[in-house]
Amino acid sequence: MKVKCPDCDGEINVPDDAIAGEIVSCPDCGQEYEVYFEGGQLKLKPAETVKEDWGE
């Protein structure tokens, strides 16, 4: 499905099988968003940026 970028109004393609926590990025401005669901609705919020303890 297509969702409007909250930042630049660009068109973000979100896979139909996207799950909560999945990261999508805007092809226009490059901003990364995290998929979440509220009341069954797919929504986007700014993705977390890399933290000091991230890794493997």
Binding site: G21, K51, D53, W54, E56
Partner: protein, 282 residues
């Protein structure tokens, strides 16, 4: 159940592997959840399943969530003790040494003075690493005492954990290191990680390139021994080629494999899920 805080290629691969093997995968994004840890039974709605593959990218989330899940009696990849030890380079080195796994010479110091003496003892160039951290972050190749003083000065302005100075000999590696994946008692795949141009660290997170390698008897034996040293179910074992043979320098308890799986042709996610099924509560 697969717990995560960010869906990476690995988590998707694990989800697919569950589907292929005909097992139900509950994916739980723990980021915004809360868990009451004072109830006898820990929030069964959040933590429901027969076995857990813990995949949080944040180390502390991973560590504490593992403690909570383990307290419910659910089998988890990896156990708390493994996550704790692998997440700390000092504890890893101690565990490897106890198990007789060859590892680079490492000195620990707690002050600027101690760190400078340790660097002098190891000899320049030497490596200074934070005890906690990943993807090569802040891992510094120190070429001389002047650089050492600057790096230490920066560390002194950081959180106290960064003032535990982990000083390691610089092993002259041939522009690459080795990552071997151990699942259960088996070394299932290995790659050379070639450092990206202009970068001495070979982490794939820093652009390092994954190239398939055959698992030698030495690598197999060493990797399995290292995995056992920390009680790991699934672990990525990082080794360096040295004149003294292979040396294990790091262990990764939430190992990434998006580059290694296509390079080696081994379905690492499937092997992990099969192993998880074997651990599941009957």
């Amino acid at each position: 159940m697969i717990t995560y805080d960010r869906v990476r290629a690995e988590e998707k691969a694990l989800q697919r592997a569950c589907k292929d093997l005909g097992v139900e995968a509950r994916l739980v994004d723990i980021k915004d959840a809360f868990i009451d840890i004072t109830k006898g039974e820990v929030n069964p709605e959040v933590l429901k399943g027969d076995v857990v593959i813990q995949r949080c990218v944040g180390h502390y989330r991973s560590l504490y969530l593992t403690a909570i899940i383990e307290s419910t009696g659910l089998p988890i990849i990896n156990p708390f003790q493994t996550t704790l030890v692998c997440g700390d380079k000092l504890l890893t080195t101690l565990a490897l040494r106890r198990a007789g796994v060859p590892t680079p010479k490492t000195l620990i110091a707690f002050t600027r003075e101690g760190a400078l003496k340790a660097l002098e003892e190891v000899g320049y160039p030497a490596i200074l690493k934070p005890v906690v951290g990943s993807w090569g972050r802040l891992v510094s190749l120190i070429k001389d005492v002047e650089t050492a003083k600057v790096v230490i000065e920066h560390r002194e302005l950081m959180y106290p954990l960064y003032q535990v100075f982990y000083v390691q000999e610089f092993v002259k590696k041939p522009g690459r290191d080795i990552r071997c994946f151990v699942v259960g008692d088996e070394a299932i795949a290995a790659i050379y990680r070639y450092a990206a141009p202009g970068e001495w660290r070979s982490n794939t997170a820093l652009g390092g390139k994954a190239v398939k390698m055959e698992i030698s008897d030495e690598l197999r034996e060493l990797s399995i021994k290292a995995a056992k040293a920390v009680g790991a179910h699934v672990v990525g074992v990082d080794c360096l080629e040295s004149e003294r043979g292979l040396l294990v320098h790091e262990l990764n308890s939430v190992t990434e494999f998006r580059n290694a799986a296509p390079a080696t042709g081994v379905d690492i996610a499937k092997k992990m899920v099969e192993y998880a099924i074997s651990l599941a509560k009957k």
